[in-house]
Symmetry: C2
Subunit: 213 residues, 2 copies
């Protein structure tokens, strides 16, 4: 905790936040090897080094912790997406930068990416819904950026949103592929990046030849 946080929140609240974060970190780490619906409250508190009952000072149950993890995981991804969208460059260059940004993001936050991939269709409804809602927001944001581009002149809003969905799905897919490969040979990472780039190039080509209906 830095001094400004302490000054704003007081020692007690700062300590509480610290414990909360430790619970989130411990859970995220444990979730590399299992899924949320099988993660135990006691497992998490044991790693953190607090009594099991302390968990309830921060979360009602594991589902609530999961939703907090979704916010944390997709928050950082959101930042990355915004950065890529902000750049205005040649299509080819945007593709290269995007794939590199995704690869980099996965390298920096492998556990977050794995968590989202795993729980996107996982066994905890509240978490699935939180992920779906956040990915839908990404889609809207990408759609807004696409609509502003010259290539989209004459496109219907639905078509732009459809394309944005394709990009977001592709992003999640690529990130999942990276995170699952990372444990194996580094060569595989290059293959995934290369495939992702070619797929994006093909989509970009389809985009340019789309007949505005």
């Amino acid at each position: 905790m830095n001094s400004s946080t302490r000054a704003t929140l007081g020692v007690r609240q700062a300590q509480k936040l610290k414990t909360r974060q430790a619970l989130l970190d411990a859970a995220l780490k444990l979730l590399e090897e299992q899924s949320l619906s099988s993660l135990g409250l006691r497992e998490v508190t044991r790693v953190v080094g607090v009594a099991p009952a302390a968990f309830y000072r921060h979360f009602r149950d594991m589902a609530e912790l999961g939703v907090a993890l979704v916010e944390e995981s997709l928050g950082s991804l959101h930042v990355m997406i915004r950065a890529v969208l902000a750049e205005q460059q040649e299509a080819e260059e945007v593709i290269d930068r995007s794939v590199e940004a995704v690869a980099d993001h996965v390298r920096r936050h492998p556990a977050h990416v794995r968590f989202v991939a795993r729980e996107r269709h996982g066994g905890v409804r509240a978490v699935r819904e939180a992920i779906a809602a956040e990915l839908a927001r990404f889609g809207d944001e990408v759609a807004a950026a696409l609509a502003a581009q010259e290539v989209s002149r004459g496109w219907s809003a639905e078509d732009v949103r459809m394309l944005a969905g394709l990009y977001v799905d592709h992003l999640v897919m690529t990130a999942s592929a990276f995170v699952e490969a990372s444990a194996e040979e580094p060569e595989e990472e290059r293959v995934i990046a290369d495939t992702a780039r070619r797929q994006l190039r093909l989509i970009s080509l389809g985009r340019r030849h789309w007949r505005a209906a």
Copy 2:
């Protein structure tokens, strides 16, 4: 059990297969609401109505049952994919038929589709690997079919495989979307089908304009 099965296997083996199938069916049903890594052996045997220890006559553990479910789930999908690939028609028509086939498959086997979507990135390694291997086979098969088409003249094998991967990923994505929507309003199903068709149309357009490198 029909008479030919009984004649081939004998009463005892036929009964054993029946129990095994009952275990698979019960597990699949329970997995609509949870994930494999949290599914208990006792839960499954309780639904079937056999003693917990009977489970071990059929599977070493839940992971092994999960792998059997992967075979069952992707086997039927495999049949569907083959049927679609076998048809030789106009691109537009192939798209419509494919999306309808996927929608139909999800309507017929919702639990299988949900299972694959959930466990594709789930917490059980053996099951993830079984799904990945089977989807890779689908990709190869789709690639072979694409390569045989006129449009692919001059394409490298890698590019064809890249496109096949895009199709398989899109199929899984669309199936997941259908199965998650089904519980809600039927209108949503139409929207998903419509989006899927337009995305496939855009990809098809990109394919036609791909410069053979």
